[in-house]
Symmetry: C2
Amino acid sequence: MTDSAAQILEQQQIEPVLLLGPGPSSVSPRVLQSMTHALLGYLDGDFRKVLSEECELLRRSYGTKNPVTFALSGTGMAGMECALSNLLEPGERLLVGVNGFFGERMCEVAQRHGIEVHRVDAEWGKPVDPEELEKAAKAANPKVVAVVHAETSTGCLQPLEPYARVAKQVGALFLADCVTSIGGVPVGLDAHGVDAAYAGSQKCLGAPPGLSPVSFSPRAMDAMAARKRPCTSWYTDVRLLERYYFGEPAAYHHTPSNSMHYALVTALNLLHQSEGQDAVFARHMANHRSLVAGLEALGLRMLVAEGYRTPMLNSFPVPDGVDEAKIRARLRQRDRIEIGAGLGKLKGRILRIGLMGHSSRRAHVASVLTALAAALREQGYRCSTEEALQAAGF
Amino acid sequence: MTDSAAQILEQQQIEPVLLLGPGPSSVSPRVLQSMTHALLGYLDGDFRKVLSEECELLRRSYGTKNPVTFALSGTGMAGMECALSNLLEPGERLLVGVNGFFGERMCEVAQRHGIEVHRVDAEWGKPVDPEELEKAAKAANPKVVAVVHAETSTGCLQPLEPYARVAKQVGALFLADCVTSIGGVPVGLDAHGVDAAYAGSQKCLGAPPGLSPVSFSPRAMDAMAARKRPCTSWYTDVRLLERYYFGEPAAYHHTPSNSMHYALVTALNLLHQSEGQDAVFARHMANHRSLVAGLEALGLRMLVAEGYRTPMLNSFPVPDGVDEAKIRARLRQRDRIEIGAGLGKLKGRILRIGLMGHSSRRAHVASVLTALAAALREQGYRCSTEEALQAAGF
């Protein structure tokens, strides 16, 4: 008789996997431990304090004073759908700068909601051209301009200012996907004039997946108040959720997951109070630089040009003659390391190494370089582990 | 300087509250502990085994062989919206039997999605009249007939068969809200001819809130396949989710919360393997009977007539001259017990005592009766703790 999943979990029979993929990332034991705290009612005063502190720390992560900043009861994809469907009514116009899988996703999700989607495409791995976006914005006169800050599918980080300027020029709201960027690089919603953003709990913020931090500027809230019809999705209606998260007294809407919020508030405290946000950014950058130097010493070239690389996600094309699925399987089975495959049109063509949140550690850079070099050599690719480690600063 | 929420949680400074409200309920320490297991990738083989076992145990809880049975990444309200928006397209007809707050909610949510809503109302606390439902179904010829199995707002449990028969007569799909019933009383989707159901993880199943178990019959899946337009909500599109939960290979859709699934599979194992479903049902019933006997000995009368009371949620009108908010505050502050207020039109008029999942314990019946009797007497209401406990079998 084999053990049930419950027994396997209880006895911690699954040897941990070092999560160096696109997320979830490995989290601190203190974050996991926080979830063992007893549950509380959804209107309980002590639970409200947890939520209130969480919202305040999320504002710091987002770099915003937006009162309506909270963690939605769903994953990052729920956050994307929440932002699009609350900001736009069916028939209204959205302009998306698409430079990867998640930009495509925005278009797909918006179309489901009957939103008129306009798009400007850039090669995957390159930033969207602000001039092209400007031209398209002037032609389409959209209600919302949207881009992905750090594309998880490619590792391209594009600065938000130029796109925010375009949105401002045409009087549109500016929406940014911050799923991978938040917690790893400065986001600065208020400084850059971002009106709405969504993220995930499971990447650089260092919590398990399950919550989507979202933020809406007063201007975005005004746009929602001026809607002719309420948001199609009742579950992610921001105006209803505002009454639960910030109402006095709070109005019952749904039953949020205590355990998820315990984990997120703990992760946010580790980030902002124990380590400090600037130190966390510096750690992500240092480990990124070290990894890139090592990868290049292995003879690999990065997918994204220098200057546009996001430190938390490092992509490189698979060398000719190498089977990427075998590389991943070998790392997972023999080294207990997970790295990511390509998504969409990059499926089978690139590999992605995430160094996010608690997974962004110096020791992990050495582990993954060593394992990767060995796996590449197994397939006849010539490279030296020693040179890679030396280049990476070990 | 006050402690942060993270410190408070880490040091378990919040004395646990006994959760005897409408949910979340207190959960087993083993369920909480399971969430400390290290995270795994969303396509990881070991995590797929957890999901697969969870789906199989959910089928047992639902009494179904439906292949498409899984836990959605959202709370029970996400499950409600998922079921309605997947089964029905804008303009299609839904008939709801409304006998409480959550029946009302179904109407509200469906209207958001442009569904044409017809309704048959019953007094809150009483079952929906199957004959009236039949008349309305023949007049409206709906695509879906929906009822709430156990109304959390009142504690009314209505048998599913008569409504299933009505749906069958007019060739409609039959949808049941099983949020509070699942795990506490037999649900029997296949035996009763239920085509679609949604539930919550945080009530009788004994896990924290955060997941919504859903189930769809092959007939319901056929109806989705025949849609003219895909489901408006991308995040809860069942046909996309089917490819993630059951696809070989699994198709990436979103990043489910490992921790929540660890907790749910552990709770389901405790329910089905350690205690056994029949024993769990018997425990809920025995504690319910004991509580009702105690409440009646206090001179309180139940909101719902005998024969229609759901064992997991016990409602009673607040006696004249008693302030229900003060009762709840006294129990929460002095006794560390949470009980529930009325919802919607019953707000301020009833109190609700939940005995769900791990909260349904013999000792808790004595705790809540004792605390309630003392709180009532503080407001001048005359009753005897001793008589109540004796009637309850202590």
